[in-house]
């Protein structure tokens, strides 16, 4: 009896230690980046790093924002992210619905195929794509880039929306049909409102994915850089304050998004609607 008790305490302590280590491992850099971004430009170079910015200043952050090309790239990033997010949901959600609702031949194979596209390395994809885009006169356009981002995010959009739709009981749609709806009106009046939070989460997921995507952005654009592409290109030659502030600026949407989507990420593969 006593032995079991002791081993349980040890087990629990171990779990907590590992959990805390993991959290520190993830959060510490984020915290330091935030501290540095709100220090003065000279404060960034102080070592050891202070736990709080002294004094608090927006100097570093403003320096980054006002650097050449940053605002234009940020705008590009937003356009690319929003475009790809809309395209992905328009194309992906119906596929997700089909996977969730209908049993058809090769459904599992289709699922597997959808996931396996993720295994295709972006490096191999991007170079020939750049060549093709040049041929078609689509090179260095943020809309071409949005198409690529759409393609990248589609598999996950299909899977996530699939699980969202699977979380809306089929009974509800059938009940709507017995009460006078056809397939489309049942979807619009019942399934869609219930799936909406989950769909919004999937959409935000795509936004963040596109916002952070750097590889194809670097290869496929030259003058019309997105923000990550710009930051990556200028990282080696930029001063520390620029790097810290840039990092925070890139992080922010993801963090905001995480707070939004937490609930859905936790039960991504389970029931989404309560």
């Amino acid at each position: 009896m006593k032995k079991a008790h002791v081993s349980r305490v040890i087990g629990r302590t171990g779990t907590y230690v590992i959990a805390i280590l993991l959290v520190v491992w993830v959060l510490l850099p984020l915290y330091l980046i935030t501290v540095m971004s709100f220090s003065t430009k000279s404060g960034v170079y102080i070592f050891p790093k202070p736990l709080f910015p002294q004094p608090i200043s927006t100097e570093t952050f403003l320096f980054f924002i006002n650097s050449t090309g940053v605002l234009k790239s940020a705008l590009n990033s937003v356009i690319v992210a929003v475009t790809s997010m809309i395209l992905a949901i328009i194309v992906g959600a119906p596929a997700g619905y089909a996977v969730a609702r209908y049993i058809f031949h090769g459904r599992d194979l289709y699922r597997l195929a959808v996931i396996s596209t993720r295994a295709f390395p972006a490096v191999i994809l991007s170079i020939p794509l750049a060549v093709t885009f040049i041929k078609w006169g689509m090179y260095d356009s943020i809309f071409s880039l949005a198409l690529v981002h759409t393609a990248i995010s589609l598999p996950f959009t299909v899977l996530i929306t699939g699980s969202v739709f699977a979380g809306v009981p089929k009974d509800l749609e059938e009940a709507a049909q017995t009460l006078g709806c056809n397939g489309v009106t049942a979807f619009i009046r019942v399934t869609l409102p219930l799936a909406l939070p989950g769909l919004a989460a999937a959409t935000l997921f795509n936004f963040v994915g596109s916002w952070n995507e750097v590889f194809s952005s670097v290869i496929l654009t030259v003058r019309n850089r997105t923000l990550p592409a710009l930051v990556l290109a200028s990282l080696n030659v930029s001063p520390l304050p620029y790097r810290f502030a840039g990092a925070l600026f890139m992080l922010l949407p993801s963090i905001v998004f995480m707070f939004f989507i937490r609930r859905y990420l936790f039960n991504l593969w389970g029931r989404v609607v309560k």
Partner: protein, 358 residues
């Protein structure tokens, strides 16, 4: 007016035959219960009626109109689901009003009809709540209210009471019966609960493995099941079965020989000796203190006082049977008794097929 005619309907899922060429007519205003163990195809048949499943072959008619190819919304039906399927994003008023909104009725009419259905089911004080804020029993009432508000000609119910706790189920069962009587719609009601089926139905259709075994009034099904399966499935305790042999000298049950005049008039014997099964319900056996004509000798194995009855388990040779007795009659375990079966309640069944012979 709604008469349903199911004509040779067949439905398979892969290799499983869920509904096997079923032929059934449900009369206008009739409360028809589809009863059977889980997996017998009763829900599938109901979903075929609703238009939620396509049939493989056969036709379905409502009022002589062939609705086999119609979508659910064109069939003049409404349905109560086992899960209730109450829309979580709409409040109770809008849930009940859903069908009327789809018919684009004026708001005043919708309000009137929703309130009247809500009143019938005593949920008028819940109309502005959301499904998450009410109990399971109340959600069940909402589901029924939503189905009756559209005033469809046929009301389909798929195990509507199975998710309620026992007490609530008892209460709701009686209320449903009263409500349906008032509404005068044709009802098809699916259940695996034989008590529900006996209590609610005008007629019961017993199904097994996709086949229709018997369609009859509840008490006929109870007293004279078409085969041993139905006798064992319906009733608590299930029907007793005793193997017996008929020959010219009488009916031999264990060591006792009963006289041939116990056989019903129309009984046709198949040969000089015939193996049969006697089916008799626990309450149709009389206990005698001493030997009499056509009485079987037994020994009491267990006495279970159940309040309304004393349930005895009696050993009869190699067989065990259940006997219901009046609660005031005291019996002792191990005591020897004589059992006499009520001759008009005996079911004579084929020993091998279990089918009732007469």
């Amino acid at each position: 007016m709604a008469e349903i005619h199911i004509n040779e309907v067949r439905k398979t899922f892969g290799k499983v035959v869920a509904v096997n060429n079923i032929e059934l007519t449900i009369h206008d205003h009739e409360f028809m219960v589809l009863l059977g163990p889980s997996g017998c195809g009763k829900t599938t048949l109901l979903r075929c009626l609703a238009g939620l499943e396509d049939v493989d072959s056969g036709r379905i008619f409502i009022n002589k109109e062939d609705i086999t190819e119609y979508p659910p919304r064109s069939r003049h039906i409404s349905m109560v689901f086992q899960s209730y399927a109450v829309f979580p994003h709409l409040n109770i008023f809008e849930n009940i009003a859903f069908g009327l909104r789809m018919q684009h009725l004026p708001n005043s009419e919708i309000k009137k009809r929703v309130e009247s259905s809500a009143e019938m089911l005593q949920i008028e004080n819940l109309l502005d709540r959301y499904p998450a804020q009410i109990s399971g029993g109340q959600r069940q009432r909402v589901a029924v209210a939503r189905a009756i508000t559209v005033q469809a000609e046929v009301l389909l119910m798929d195990e509507p009471l199975s998710n309620l706790d026992a007490l609530l189920r008892l209460e709701m069962r009686a209320e449903l019966k009263r409500l349906i009587k008032e509404l005068q719609t044709t009802v098809v009601y699916v259940t695996h609960d034989q008590v529900e089926a006996l209590g609610l139905g005008d007629r019961i259709a017993v199904m097994k493995n996709g086949n229709l075994l018997q369609v009859d009034a509840p008490l006929i099904i109870y007293d004279h099941p078409a085969n041993a399966f139905i006798g064992g499935f319906i009733g608590n305790p299930p029907m007793n079965f005793l193997p017996a042999v008929i020959d010219d000298r009488g009916i031999h049950v264990e060591e006792t020989t009963l006289t041939l005049d116990l056989l019903p008039k129309g009984f046709k014997r198949s040969g000089s000796t015939q193996n049969i099964k006697i089916g008799i319900r626990a309450e149709n056996i009389k206990i005698l203190p001493s030997s009499e004509k056509n009485a079987l000798k037994g020994k009491i194995l267990v006495v279970e006082p159940l309040g309304s009855t004393n349930l005895l388990t009696v050993i009869l040779g190699n067989e065990r049977i259940k006997v219901n007795t009046h609660p005031d009659e005291i019996y002792l375990t191990g005591g020897e008794i004589w059992l006499q079966m009520a001759s008009n309640k005996i079911n004579w069944m084929d020993a091998e097929t279990g089918n009732t012979l007469a």
